[in-house]
Symmetry: C2
Subunit: 447 residues, 2 copies
C-alpha cells in the first residue's frame, strides 16, 4: 500500500479548521498513505475549554494555545497552511483561499461556531462573547478596567454599576465564568483596592430555561446552582434579556421587568455556525439547520458528496438519538477520528459502521473548589469533581509543556488565590463601554 | 514618629510610573510614615529586559508582568491609581489626571522612555520598536507571519524578502533579538515548514558605531559578535540606515550604499524621553537634554523644586562621571531606593550624601547558550555567562510565581528548543506590511 502510494500521487485529504475536530482528524491520519493539508485562519490550536481562565487572568493565552506547525511538525505526510477558505468547487474538487487554490480528493470541514445574539447583533459591542483569544483578552480588559473605574468613581450608583457583572447564559461557559469572577472579586482582589470593597461586587448569572446547565441531569444543575450561590453569585433562571443599551440590561422574568445598571455584560448564550456552512450550502446545496449548522449523513459526509465531511460544532448530526449532538470538544474529537478511520477503510475498498458518539459525560467547574461531573455511570460534585475536571482538562491539552505549565499555574493559583495574568492590554483601542447605535430590534430574546 | 503621623495628615508621596524606578521607590517606602500613591497608565509592572522573549514566542506577556495592585497589595500605606498625568502644578503641589486632581507633598516622576526614529517617524509602522507589551505582540505577529508568508510564496526573490529580518541597532535589545531570531529560524522552526528551508533565513544586525554593544568593554563586543556570527547572524557595524520604504532598507557603509529587500524590520536603535519630560518642563522650566530627558540635581530633584524628583530612564544624571547614567533597570532601581531613603531622612530633618550609582556590571544574552557578562571585577562570555544572565534576570522578576514559571519555561525551551507562545493575534488589525506614506525626510540617520 505504501509503495503504491509512492508511485502515484497520494490521496489528498484537505482539512479546514485546526480546532478539536480538524486536529484530531489530522493526527489520526499520521500513518495513513495519504497527503494531509490542514488549513486554518490562525497559526495555533486553541484549547477553548480553558478560555474563561484567560478571560479572568488565571492563565495566559500562550498556556492554552499550541502552534499547529509544532503539533504536526513530525507528521511528515502533513502540511499546515495558514489561510481562509472563500469558496469551494465540488466539481473541480478544489477550494479557494485568498491567493491560492488547493485541490483535494477528500475534504473535511471543521470550522466551528461563533457567537449569536439572536437577531440582536447590536448588543455585540456591549456584551462580548468568548470564542477566540482576542475575545478572552477583551473580556479580561473589561473585567479589570471595571474594578479600576469603580476604584476612581465617587458616585455610589455609578460605582455600583461598575461593580455589577451580568453573565447572559447559564451553560458551561456562563457557569465557569461566574465561578471565576466570584473567586476574583471575593478572594483574589480582596486586598488590592483602597476605595472600594470588592466584596460588594454583584455577579448575576441569567438563564432563560428553568435551570442552569440544561443539558446536565437536574440534580447536578441544582448542585451547581447551590455552589455558585455559596460563592456569592446571584443565579436567575427563567429570565430573558430583552434589551441591552447604555449599560442598562433589561430583563424579563414572567411578568416582572427589571432594569440593571451594569458596565460589564458578558455573553455566554448563543452560538451560530461559522461562515463555512454558508459557503458549503452555496456550492453543494447541502441543508443547513436554523443555527446555520450543516446537516450531515450517518457517516458525517454531506448529501450527494461522499468525499466532503463536516465535523465538530459545524455539523448537525441527528442520527444518534434524534436531536443534534452537543457542541462539545469530545464530539468533535471522535468525529475527526471517525472520518480519519473511514478514509483509510475506503482507500482499501472497505467501509465502517455509521458514526456513534460515545458519551463519557460532562463536567463544569464552579470556582476554586467545586465542580459538577456527570460521568454517566457516576455523578458527583464538589471538590472531587473539581479535581477530576482539572486533570481531565489538563490531560487533553495538546502539548506536554502546556500541560506542565498549566498544572503548575493552577496549583499556584489554588494555593495563593492569585491571578497573575491580569494585564489590561490594547488600551488604545478602548471601545466605548455603552452601546453606541440605537437598537432597531426590541424583540424579547430567550437567553 | 508613627504616632505623630497618625495625628496629622501624613506626608503624601506621589509616584508617577510603575516601572523599575517607581516600583522600587514605592517598595522602599513601605515602612515609612508617609502615604504613597503610585500612578501608572497600565495596571501592571512590566519586566522589560525579557520583553524580547515575548516578541519571539518564548514567554507569554503574563509571565513577565505583575499586577501593580498585587505587588503592593499588602503595603497598607500605598494606593495604586490607574491614570495618565496631563499636567503638573508645582505651586499648588497638584497633578492633573484625566478626571481627577491629586495633591502631593513630594512628587517622583519615573515615566521612562519610548522609541525614537531620529526624525524619521514615518518609519515607525514598518519598523516597530520594543517598549510595551503591545509592541512585543506586534513583533511576534510580524515575525511568525513572515515565515507563514514565505511558506506560501513561490517567487524566490519575494520569498527571500520574507525570510530577511533586519534589526536596526546593536545595543542589548538588538543583540538579544538577533540571538533569539537565530535560534528560532535555525532550530525551533527547522521541521515546521514543508516549502521553505528556514535555515535560509537571513538575520542582519546593523549598528552605526564600530562595534556592537558600544557601552561594553571592546573584548566583550568582539565575543558577542563572534557568538552571533556562530549562530548565523550577519553583523554589520559602521552601517547607517538611510531609508526604509516599501520593504526596502537602504543602508550606507562608508561609501557603499546597499538596498536590502526585507519584510520584517525591527527597531532597536533610538530612545526618547516620555512626554512627562515635556509636561515637567512646561510647568517648572526644568532643562531637558536633546533626547528630552530631564536634567536632575545631584540628589535627583529638579532645579528650584526640591520636592520633585525624576528617576530612571527619564532622568539625565550627569554628576557621577560627566556623562548621563545609562538607561538600564539597575540605575532606575537604585535611584528609586535613594529617593525613598532621602524622603525619610528629610522628614526627620536629616539629609543624605548625593546619589551614586553602584555599577555591578552589564549582561546581554546571545541565543541559547551564550551571553556576555561584564561584572567589573570579572568579564566572561559563553555558557557560564548565559547561566548568570538567566539567574540574575529571574531573580529580579517581581513575583515568586513569575520567577518559578519563567524558570520552568526557560528550562523547557532550553531542552526542547520549543517556543510555545507563538500566537499570531489581532489579525483583524493587520497593518500593511509596507510603508504607506511617502517619506518627506531622506536624511541619513545614524543607527
Amino acid at each position: 500500500m505504501l509503495n503504491e502510494a509512492k508511485n502515484q500521487s497520494p490521496h489528498h485529504v484537505v482539512i479546514v479548521g485546526g480546532g478539536f475536530g480538524g486536529l484530531y482528524a489530522a493526527k489520526a491520519l499520521a500513518k495513513a498513505p495519504v497527503k494531509v493539508t490542514l488549513i486554518d485562519k490562525r497559526n495555533f490550536h486553541l484549547f477553548q475549554p480553558l478560555l474563561y481562565q484567560v478571560a479572568t487572568g488565571g492563565l495566559s493565552a500562550g498556556d492554552i494555545s499550541s502552534p499547529l506547525r509544532a503539533v504536526l511538525s513530525k507528521q511528515k505526510n502533513t502540511e499546515v497552511l495558514m489561510g481562509e477558505v472563500t469558496h469551494i468547487n465540488p466539481e473541480q474538487q478544489t477550494i479557494q483561499l485568498q491567493n491560492q487554490e488547493v485541490s483535494y480528493d477528500t475534504l473535511i470541514v471543521a470550522t466551528g461556531v461563533s457567537h449569536h445574539y439572536f437577531g440582536n447583533e447590536q448588543w455585540a459591542p456591549t456584551a462580548p462573547g468568548l470564542k477566540t483569544v482576542e475575545d478572552a483578552l477583551e473580556m479580561r480588559r473589561r473585567i479589570f478596567l471595571a474594578f479600576e473605574a469603580a476604584e476612581k468613581e465617587t458616585d455610589p450608583e455609578k460605582r455600583r454599576a461598575w461593580l455589577t457583572f451580568v453573565l447572559v447564559g447559564g451553560g458551561p461557559t456562563g457557569v465557569e465564568l461566574a465561578g471565576a469572577l466570584a473567586e476574583l472579586a471575593y478572594s483574589t482582589l480582596k486586598n488590592d483596592f483602597r476605595n472600594i470593597d470588592t466584596s460588594e461586587t454583584r455577579i448575576l448569572l441569567l438563564e432563560g430555561m428553568d435551570r442552569i446547565l440544561p443539558p446536565y441531569p437536574p440534580e447536578l444543575s441544582a448542585k451547581a446552582q447551590a455552589s455558585l450561590e455559596r460563592l456569592g453569585v446571584t443565579v436567575q433562571t427563567k429570565t430573558l434579556v430583552t434589551n441591552i443599551e447604555d449599560n442598562i440590561v433589561t430583563i424579563r422574568r414572567g411578568e416582572d421587568v427589571e432594569q440593571i445598571g451594569a458596565h460589564t455584560i458578558l455573553w455566554a448564550a448563543g452560538m451560530k455556525a461559522s461562515g463555512m456552512g454558508q459557503v458549503l450550502a452555496e456550492s453543494t446545496n447541502v441543508e443547513l439547520d436554523r443555527a446555520g449548522r450543516v446537516m450531515v449523513a450517518p457517516d458525517l459526509s454531506i448529501a450527494g458528496h461522499p468525499n466532503i465531511f463536516v465535523i465538530g460544532d459545524l455539523a448537525n448530526y441527528s442520527h444518534q438519538d434524534g436531536k443534534p449532538l452537543p457542541g462539545v470538544a469530545p464530539v468533535a474529537m471522535q468525529e475527526g477520528q471517525y472520518v480519519a478511520r473511514l478514509i483509510q477503510k475506503q482507500l482499501k475498498g472497505d467501509t465502517l459502521p455509521t458514526f456513534r458518539y460515545a458519551d463519557y459525560g460532562s463536567l463544569a467547574v464552579i470556582g476554586r473548589n467545586a465542580a459538577v461531573v456527570d460521568l454517566r455511570f457516576v455523578k458527583f460534585a464538589g471538590f472531587p469533581a473539581w479535581l477530576a475536571w482539572i486533570f481531565i482538562h489538563i490531560f487533553y491539552l495538546i502539548e506536554f509543556d502546556n500541560k506542565l505549565l498549566v498544572l503548575l499555574q493552577w496549583a499556584w493559583n489554588y494555593f495563593t488565590r492569585k491571578r497573575g495574568a491580569r494585564l489590561i492590554t490594547n488600551q488604545e483601542d478602548l471601545p466605548a463601554m455603552g452601546v453606541e447605535e440605537q437598537s432597531e430590534y426590541r424583540t424579547p430574546v430567550k437567553v
